[in-house]
């Protein structure tokens, strides 16, 4: 029971950053345990919530308790009822936060070159990852993409954390017009990256995985599946992933992920906002019976 904490966390800062809200909560227990790529599950809606399910957010950064109280930072896009509630909180309001959850980005044993790719708020966990990688002697290049400049997160921070930064936007409002996958090949080639880390929408993660494979790099992708509990008890967040034995299983992205090796994910099962169970997945046959 020592690798996870539950805290009634006080909001100590909330500020707008482009299209997002950057929130800082006091949560020393979580801050102490967390590693880059992990996430937290936040209760929303207050005392009698109509929104019962937790909302999950990547840890943007943590400041472990020292002279100051330990805090965790989240970058939140207000899209629905829960994120609207969360971003409407005011300083000194509190809510319950559970974390750190999920598996962090695996770190290379050797000081290899790496590329970090973020889409939209998906870049949030990458700066902390970048600092960690660089402290281990890894080269870090970053590619940040978004639909518009407003939805690009952390381009300035990136310059501090990375050896180089390339920015793309769908509408060309800043950086290259286009997708991260358009510029990624050149960045990998140039840095000779061995690992590409990525966080963002599914479509992007799939292309990053493909580009990485074409360039002989390993992709480590942090996925975002719809989650009801975040702690592994509900089975809503599953996706088809190949195991070491080659067999595909519907695994829980909250406990076995959110970070997966990109080449293990069965991208072929995802289409149009749904994910089917591949015919060859473990247990798929029993589903056909009834």
């Amino acid at each position: 029971m020592s690798d996870v904490a539950q805290e009634c966390a006080e909001l100590v800062a909330s500020r707008r950053v482009g299209a997002y809200h950057h929130l800082t909560f006091v949560a020393p227990g979580i801050a102490k345990l967390a590693r880059p790529g992990q996430f937290v599950a936040v209760a929303v809606g207050g005392e009698e919530p109509a929104t019962l399910l937790r909302r999950c957010f990547s840890l943007h950064k943590v400041s472990p308790a020292g002279a100051h109280r330990g805090t965790v930072d989240l970058v939140v896009s207000a899209v629905g009822a829960g994120t609207r509630w969360l971003t409407a909180l005011r300083t000194h309001d509190r809510t319950d936060v559970v974390g750190p959850l999920g598996r962090p980005f695996p770190l290379p044993k050797e000081p290899v070159a790496t590329v970090l790719v973020g889409g939209g708020y998906g870049s949030a966990p990458l700066f902390w990852l970048a600092d960690t990688l660089r402290s281990r002697g890894c080269r870090v290049d970053m590619v940040l993409g978004a639909a518009t400049e407003e939805r690009l997160f952390g381009a300035v921070e990136a310059r501090r954390s990375a050896d180089s930064v390339v920015v793309t936007t769908d509408d060309g409002s800043v950086g290259h017009r286009g997708w991260v996958s358009d510029v990624l090949p050149a960045v990998i080639t140039h840095s000779r990256a061995a690992v590409v880390y990525a966080c963002g929408p599914m479509g992007m993660l799939r292309s990053v995985t493909e580009v990485a494979a074409e360039h002989g790099a390993v992709a480590q992708v942090a996925v975002e599946e719809s989650m009801a509990c975040g702690v592994g008890v509900c089975m809503t967040c599953v996706m088809p992933v190949r195991g070491n034995d080659g067999a595909t299983r519907m695994v829980r992205s909250c406990v076995e992920g959110p970070v997966f090796r990109g080449d293990r994910v069965r991208w072929d099962a995802f289409a149009d906002g749904r994910c089917l169970v591949p015919e060859d997945a473990v247990g798929a046959a029993a589903m056909r019976a009834h």
């Binding site: 029971m1 690798d3 996870v4 539950q6 209760a43 919530p49 109509a50 929104t51 019962l52 399910l53 937790r54 319950d96 559970v98 599946e225 719809s226 009801a228 509990c229 702690v231 592994g232 008890v233 509900c234 089975m235 809503t236 967040c237 599953v238 996706m239 299983r249 519907m250 406990v255 906002g273 749904r274 994910c275 089917l276 169970v277 997945a281 473990v282 247990g283 798929a284 046959a285 029993a286 589903m287 019976a289 009834h290």
Partner: protein, 318 residues
């Protein structure tokens, strides 16, 4: 003041307290144990297990609804063999009393699963078996075993034959029936020791952006505080029939929408001698513990020193 005696009798097996997890809402223990000691619960109820490994349904498998949720997991699980080899021993080692939830696509499959379970070396931690005849996510259509008294009776009869006679056997009922008392009568007449009520209500949520069902499986099961009044009603009706002598007396495990101790007390006062906490666990992984502490506090605050004295009490005060 002496502490309240929270023990409850599940039809032969006595549990130290009446609060349990709900099947499918706490996986098989390991994950929840990070937040709640599984041995501290009255019983741990496992995810419904079938004979074979199951992948479950495609995603999205869930939709949040006002004060509730809709799910279409589709009984994803490892199958009874792996369950007996890995999950049950783990629960046993950690001191849990286990209510094992089983299902089958046919009455025969139910019986096979029961037989396999009874043969497990870890069987001594089994406090009872819950027969899930009401999962809306097994069949493609809305009709489950628990919609039909004969089909339900057949399942219970076959399962009963495969279990040691001392094992309490609970039939888990669906609220999606015209007359739940009729179904209760049928299963109690066919070997069930008691009843678990309720499973989820069949529901649909439309994704209004894509204008299509939000669940890949179209229909799902509605749960959470939103349905609590339906669960309390089901327990009320069945317990009332027992009091009236039109149904044999039998223990009822109440489930549906419990988040707090007061919620649990509603089911208890309506007639449940144990309570399961399901969806609320997604809201707060310590919910079963909180409900237990809250319930114990309320029973004491009402001046009772035995939990058992509160069971069904509201029927005496209408």
């Amino acid at each position: 003041m002496a502490p309240v005696d929270l023990s409850t009798d599940l039809g032969g097996v006595v549990l130290p307290n009446p609060v349990m997890t709900a099947s499918g809402c706490a996986a098989n223990g390991r994950e929840l144990h990070r937040f709640v000691d599984v041995a501290s619960l009255g019983a741990f109820v496992t995810k419904t297990v079938m004979s074979q490994p199951r992948s479950g349904r495609p995603t999205p498998r869930m939709a949040e609804t006002p004060s509730g949720m809709l799910n279409s997991i589709g009984l994803q699980g490892p199958g009874i063999r792996a369950f007996c080899e890995e999950d049950l021993p783990w629960l046993r080692e950690h001191g849990a009393r286990v209510l094992v939830s089983i299902a089958g696509g046919t009455a025969g499959e139910f019986a096979d699963v029961a037989a396999h379970l009874a043969a497990s070396p870890a069987y001594d931690c089994v406090a009872g078996v819950e027969v899930n005849i009401s999962c809306p996510n097994v069949a493609n259509r809305g009709q489950v075993f628990a919609c039909n008294p004969e089909a339900s009776a057949k399942v219970l009869t076959l399962v009963r034959e495969r279990l040691p006679s001392g094992t309490p056997l609970f039939a888990k009922l669906s609220p999606d029936v015209t007359d739940i008392v009729e179904i209760a009568a049928s299963v109690l007449g066919s070997g069930a020791t008691g009843l678990t009520m309720i499973n989820t209500l069949l529901g649909v949520v439309i994704d209004t952006e894509r204008l299509r069902p939000q669940l890949a499986a179209v229909t799902g099961g509605l749960s959470g505080p939103a349905v609590r009044a339906v669960a309390v009603r089901a327990v009320w009706q069945v317990h009332a029939a027992m009091r009236a002598g039109t149904l044999p007396e039998a223990p009822i495990i109440g489930v549906g929408g419990v988040r707090t101790g007061a919620d649990a007390l509603e089911l208890v006062a309506a007639g449940a001698c144990a309570v399961q906490v399901g969806t609320a666990t997604f809201h707060d992984p310590t919910a079963p513990r909180l409900a237990l502490d809250g319930l114990a506090g309320l029973v004491a605050a009402h001046g009772f020193d035995r939990f058992a004295d509160v069971v069904g009490i509201a029927h005496e005060r209408t």
